[in-house]
Homo-oligomer: 470 residues x 3
């Protein structure tokens, strides 16, 4: 990796950034939230080919190609019905290589560039001319034992890798890994949106599975709550540290048990409307927080995304196709009930993320700088970038301090990009601390103490892996 990537031009800042970075660059990686698949590590079979490893599953990549007029079919993105354009994955790779210049200056472009360098160990630049050369090189790598999922986990120096799974998700891949004796720590994160969002088309189907998995009667609201409690326990037994909630809005509101049960029953009958969906989601956030105070799972909220904005693409190709667009988000009023109820609870931690950067200084940092339970997740998704991470730190640290934010969380579905993503975060943090040092805001001692916390320590404490935050 470029020894000075991201570091400031100023030679004194750069020198300090480099020293800080060197002091932590070899610390293990913690990946407490992301979208890789347990199956990969259970089966440990080689990845198919460069295209299906790098392009097809990653909407960060194909959305940009689509935005300049390249069709999803020509990229062989699978359709909802499972079908897929015929053709050679190599042709997709060639298209990608030809248009790779579109990614100049984007995090995706940098991830790919550095992933090729450090994971696939090649300096050949990705462009139209080199398309086949690189395809063949990566393809050969994938046939090598060193590039099987478990080997990658080990080479990447991962200490923890969390997948994200619905309440109705069958955990057998995780169980399989646990039984296998392999030392890797692949844990699930409990994301019950599949059963708490009564507006989902697959809600009833998911409820059914949840009932089967737990033996609880999900025809009643109390049965449903019991099933959730049991399911959380199942996840915990497989190493789960946290829950996650991908809600439209972070509104939290406790209903009476009777009112909640009434909405639930309405929903079972297919008679719940949008308002019911909203208020039920608000109530379920309260319930999930309450259960977290009992079982200690760290609660994460990822709100404020308009999913599947492009209806015709959704109808044909389904979700996660790059058409998820953020919307304005409000936290001060929306989180009030939850924070008033549990924000000072000694056994509760709430990690909040946002795509609405206007809330950094105005709402999130003041809230995290007050409530003991609340912590801020790092710059998320589109903002998991050089400028995005700088804006995050520059906006929140002065009000919330360094100790009310978590360390880096990669949130990726692209396994081979994990070390690069962590490396970027560590570099950007090192440069940020070096700046503060050179400007007299932090002493050298403070900067040196903060560096490993940001790179590793805070994440470990926040996600209950070791140590205590308070």
């Amino acid at each position: 990796m470029n020894n000075d990537l991201f570091f400031s031009p100023d030679p004194i800042v750069r020198k300090n950034a480099r020293d800080l970075y060197e002091s932590i660059k070899d610390l293990p990686l913690l990946s407490p939230h992301g979208h890789t698949e347990a199956r990969w590590f259970a089966e440990n079979t080689p990845f198919e080919n460069p295209t299906d490893l790098i392009i097809t599953p990653d909407h960060y990549i194909f959305r940009m190609l689509f935005s300049r007029g390249i069709s999803l079919d020509s990229l062989r993105i699978p359709r909802k019905d499972g079908s897929r354009m015929e053709g050679d994955p190599r042709d997709v790779w060639r298209l990608f290589a030809k248009y790779f210049y579109l990614f100049a200056g984007t995090p995706t472009g940098l991830w790919i560039r550095e992933e090729l360098r450090t994971v696939f160990e090649t300096d050949i630049p990705l462009n139209e001319k080199n398309a086949d050369l690189l395809y063949d090189h990566i393809d050969a790598c994938l046939k090598d034992e060193r590039f099987r999922p478990r080997s990658l986990y080990e080479r990447f120096n991962l200490e923890l890798l969390s997948t994200t799974n619905g309440a109705a998700y069958d955990l057998s891949w995780h169980e399989n890994i646990a039984r296998s004796g392999w030392k890797g720590c692949i844990v699930p994160c409990f994301r019950p949106d599949d059963v708490t969002d009564i507006g989902r088309p697959d809600w009833l189907k998911n409820l059914g599975k949840l009932g089967e998995l737990t033996g609880e009667n999900t025809e009643t609201f109390s049965g449903f709550l019991n099933a959730l409690r049991k399911r959380r326990e199942d996840f915990i037994n497989l190493g789960c540290n946290s829950t996650d909630h991908g809600v439209k809005s972070p509104w939290t509101h406790r209903l009476s048990e009777k009112d909640a049960a009434t909405i639930y029953t309405q929903a079972l009958r297919g008679k719940a409307d949008d308002e019911d969906q909203k208020v039920f989601a608000a109530h379920m956030l309260m319930m999930m927080a309450e259960m977290s105070t009992e079982d200690g799972l760290v609660m994460q909220i990822h709100p404020g995304v308009y999913r599947n904005h492009d209806q015709s693409v959704y109808d044909l190709y389904g979700g996660d196709r790059g058409a998820d667009i953020p919307v304005r988000c409000e936290y001060t009023r929306n989180l009030k009930e939850l924070l008033n109820a549990y924000g000072s609870h000694p056994n509760f931690k709430l990690v909040v993320y946002t795509l609405d950067e206007t809330t950094y200084t105005r709402e999130l940092a003041p809230l995290a700088g007050y409530y003991p339970a609340m912590l801020l997740g790092p710059a998320w998704w589109f903002n998991d970038s050089f400028q995005g991470m700088k804006r995050f730190k520059q906006s929140v640290v002065e009000t919330a301090g360094f100790y009310n934010i978590t360390g880096f969380v990669d949130d990726t579905r692209a396994l081979p990009s994990i070390p690069v993503r962590h490396d970027f975060s560590r570099r950007i943090d090192a440069d940020y601390l070096a700046h503060l040092m050179v400007q007299g805001i932090l002493t050298q001692q403070e900067a040196e103490a903060l560096m490993p916390e940001l790179a590793y320590g805070l994440t470990k404490k926040v996600f209950n892996r070791e140590g205590k935050l308070r």
Copy 2:
């Protein structure tokens, strides 16, 4: 011009910025959107005097003087009834010179300073003491052939200059230029707000003119649509590349033809209310997009301004008096219908501008980084500034990439400031790219390829002047 204006203090970044800037500083200027007047180039008579050239038409200038208590009358701003304080334009210039220190650190101050240097070729600083000296100097220039409108166009190395005109605007000045044999390319931009905004006091009058100009019966909605189609053709025949829409909100919504016709008829009878105005505007954006897919005009939207905020100034002096204030703007939900209908259409381009910078990372960059038709216009109006342009690039490029934004668009009504405005944009872009290079984010090759695109190439492609975007 100061050889290093805007360049970073760091010597390595500065060196690279200078090299990048030198490589493109002499490229021709494209001005595909602005508010100069075709009449100037048709008549090609000398500008009257320094005050009427530089101060009176430019609300960027007189709003700042007004803000520190200088009355519009003392600046001889014309009143709505056409009257104007008596007095010598030189006195207005003296006031301007005396208070020019108010513009320290503002783009307007820098434009004036550099315009004096490069267009009027004088280094005398503008202040109270030098007021007369500079007035006389500029006045003498204006009497020189070199300062006539066509000469300025040529000296400025303009390749295209677009005016902005209503649907009911008589294009005879443009026709006159076209017939004159002069090589300058002065084209109109089609801005039909005068007939699509049924809330305007002059709507009926404009409709009448539109009917006359096209021979269509604007008493019916279908006649109105036909008139618009014809009018677009008239504009296209004079070189028009684009439409522009100065809507209050970017809300887009298709009505049934019957509902649209009903509102139109209500409006003709003077019975349309605010809600009708809103929904009709939303429908007309859909219609304009549809027509763009047919005739290829690039559609521009400039939303989110509260016009004429100061009622008493509006009553006396009319619009464009500096009292237009931005308001919050929403794009994700508002543009959904339009983008779902036309966002992937191969013959459609939508350029979106904003004064609400909060939408850069949250809404606009994600949308532009997905929909093939959508592109982002540069930092607009108040944000057409050093910091404003930096914030724009730092916010949108990481998500949308460089190839989903247009190059610079000056949007000026101050003809002599055009080269300076372009020069500023080129300098700021050069410095931005140099930074990315020195920090390892762009390779030198990438930065060198992007520089002419930002300065010239992207604008040319986006506005259909040459080449293709996809």
Copy 3:
């Protein structure tokens, strides 16, 4: 103080920043808005102990400790009923010292560090080990004549210190100081929220006091207005320069006299609802502006805070406990009536503050860059920080210019931090101007002229202490 604190790493910028800073660092301090107490200067008795001087009154400090799980009781924060945990203030100090690392990178951390250095003249770093040493050192200082309130005022080179007081506040401490012959200038700022917010639980009680203090019949709306006018005069007689309004929203709206009186009467009967409260507040802002045009008090608005977000802490400990969280704020539409009525009045000045930074470029700078009466207060509260001040200047100056903003306003309740706060602002401004100079945006002459204006001159003119803005 660290000679280069906050200055840019670049040696040329740093050199210029240092020169600019040196030229103004010894100018007197103006503190036209804050929350110190007149009693301190009237009585001039020594401060009790380090804890009660530095920790207990300062929610900036104890909110951060609370956020990492330290209870308000263990910090001996007084409860609503006046009671307080028993214990030694030294124990609180020890807790503070132990957890002082939480403040790394925050303005509060820097204020404390530099306050220890410059006011208490010690370089011993604050940490667990040094807790007692520092406690004893400060405690010894406080017993010294040099650390009594009046001595501090003089040592700090204060020229003006404004407290903030309700309309029903008894001004006898201020009168006492005025009569004492002491040269210090301790003036009140008129903050009538206690009687203009009909939703306050203590409203009737405050009205009663207001009646007593003025001899007016506050049972009628016209009597209430007369009382306000008289009270403003009382404040003015004690040197008051300004009013302040801590409204939820900056909405301004004039009611008919009859409607206003009706709501007032309803409120007296305990029958006003939330909507009444809102509209009455909007009307009272109009009335306060009108009175300002008559008596010349500078009107300040501090809107957009959700007070006492943590209900259980509020119930037990009362307000100002760190749980005030900003919310989104709108100015363009909300201030329209006020600015249309008084925004160009020659005897009116309106200083607007915000915690919603999204309004800087979008609303506040455009408004201040147009209306003669309107000025922008500096970065407020959470944003009174290194990054916050940079964002403020970078966002507003290009549109509003330097002369539509006020100089620094410290807004503190921590007396010994005043010189440090001003010093930080002066340093950050010096660095900002140096940057603009080195990048060619300001000439050296412009930067040198602006420096003392930002440090001293603008504040003096805005708050009617000397000179005129227009």
